[in-house]
Symmetry: C2
Subunit: 243 residues, 2 copies
DNA sequence: AAGTGGTCTAGACCACCCG
DNA sequence: GGGTGGTCTAGACCACTTT
């Protein structure tokens, strides 16, 4: 039995609390949060702890901190649907209230394709090949092809692949997924993609290829995700970095 | 005369120093940085200050912090070309050593197009309409259409638009660009896009639309950026957020 | 002058990893 | 048990904004 460690740090509890207050309208877009000193009293935390919580919100684009004035709540309505970051289809699905279903097409041992070998993955790396079709509002929209690396993933029960792969990896296997690299290009679809995504000869396909790593930098997942171009929308919030 | 305020905080100086040591091979991918306590002595800073510097590197995907072990340098080679975040074409150009040039096609007052009006921009907002073609290695690759809002931007000298718009906004006008929202879709090109980007009837175009804001949440720039699909590549580094 | 966020410190305790 | 990163604190000084 694997017991999940949940991060219950003060700064995270505070961050989540403020986020929920923004979400439920207690703090409204365009208004200022209580000052850091007030939040210090409100949560019984030191100012540095409050600041770490607010920095999380700042990174997420929920607030803008303005020196001498305060932290203003931004209007998050406008840039919903963040496929930036690492988010699983299940999480997207529930957060967007889409009517979506997943069909597992293949689930078997296989070797790693050329694209990832060229990026340093071992030639004889063992892997589970998982092919899934995402159907949104009755229309096939995304073809997901995953390679789950063994170790640490020996196999994936098809039921879990249908439900939520990440819940299986993080919940059941206790893996701590930490970061990923991602590459988006637009390509001509192959025969299989055309057939499964109902593409015509004139269509292109949006390819998202990613490599996902654990806390300890172990590579665990390779993904090729092919999107119908008319169904594809990627939104992002970015801060200017001057490092 | 506008004098630029440069952030010379200790944590930023330390972050930059460590980054340059990674860049020049003093700290190599797969090896550990000196421990936080050692860095404390090395830079004469408190541990919290060192940690803030390291967190910058962590966010950028340059290192991975592992509890109980240390901070390991990641292999940044593999995911170069970060168009994530807010990065100007000039910055991209110099960091990627591409042979690129910019041709300014239009530069005149205009009103804001429908797409942005639908997202809350004022109907009678005054703006400078700037249309630029980016030519990479002799091939037209990107068509950039900007609307610079007045206030605070009254006009843009064409010389500055050719060189670097961001240098003009940040350097000359003293504006502090802070964050942006971005949306990527794939569309059928219109006649102008076809002509300027040498697209055929079968081609699609990648549209990147963004809204850019200052430190004080003032909206300053609306951009529609159209990319040749075969020239388009977007790469990203993302950390899993469990907020 | 008062209030705000930005930076920095010295010290403390904890959880994790390894020999 | 000793070293590592993760969290938290109380206090200090600064830069910026507003009154």
């Amino acid at each position: 039995m694997i017991v999940l460690k949940v991060n219950r740090s003060k700064q995270l509890i505070i961050a989540r609390d403020i986020i929920s207050k923004i979400k439920y309208g207690q703090y409204r877009p365009g208004t200022y949060l209580p000052s850091e000193n007030q939040l210090t009293d409100l949560y019984g935390a030191s100012r540095e702890t409050i600041r770490k919580a607010l920095n999380e919100l700042n990174d997420l684009g929920l607030i803008q901190k303005i020196k001498g004035k305060g932290s203003i709540v931004l209007d998050i309505q406008r840039y919903t649907f963040p496929i930036s970051g690492i988010t699983s289809f299940k999480e997207l699905n529930s957060s967007q209230a889409m009517n979506a279903q997943t069909k597992v097409l293949q689930n078997k041992p296989a070797s790693v394709p050329e694209y990832f070998l060229a990026r340093g993955v071992d030639n004889d790396q063992r892997a589970t090949f998982l092919e899934r079709l995402r159907i949104v509002n009755g229309e096939p929209s995304v073809l997901d092809i995953d390679y789950l690396l063994d170790p640490p993933i020996q196999k994936v029960p098809t039921a879990e692949a249908t439900n939520s792969l990440y819940e299986y990896l993080e919940g059941q296997l206790g893996l701590r997924i930490s970061y990923a690299t991602k590459e988006v290009t637009v390509e001509k679809p192959n025969v299989e993609q055309k057939k499964l995504l109902n593409l015509t000869d004139r269509d292109m396909v949006v390819a998202v290829r990613s490599m996902t790593y654990l806390d300890d930098t172990t590579l665990v997942q390779l993904t090729e995700s092919y999107h119908r171009p008319d169904k594809f929308k990627f939104t992002d919030f970015a801060r200017r970095k001057r490092i």
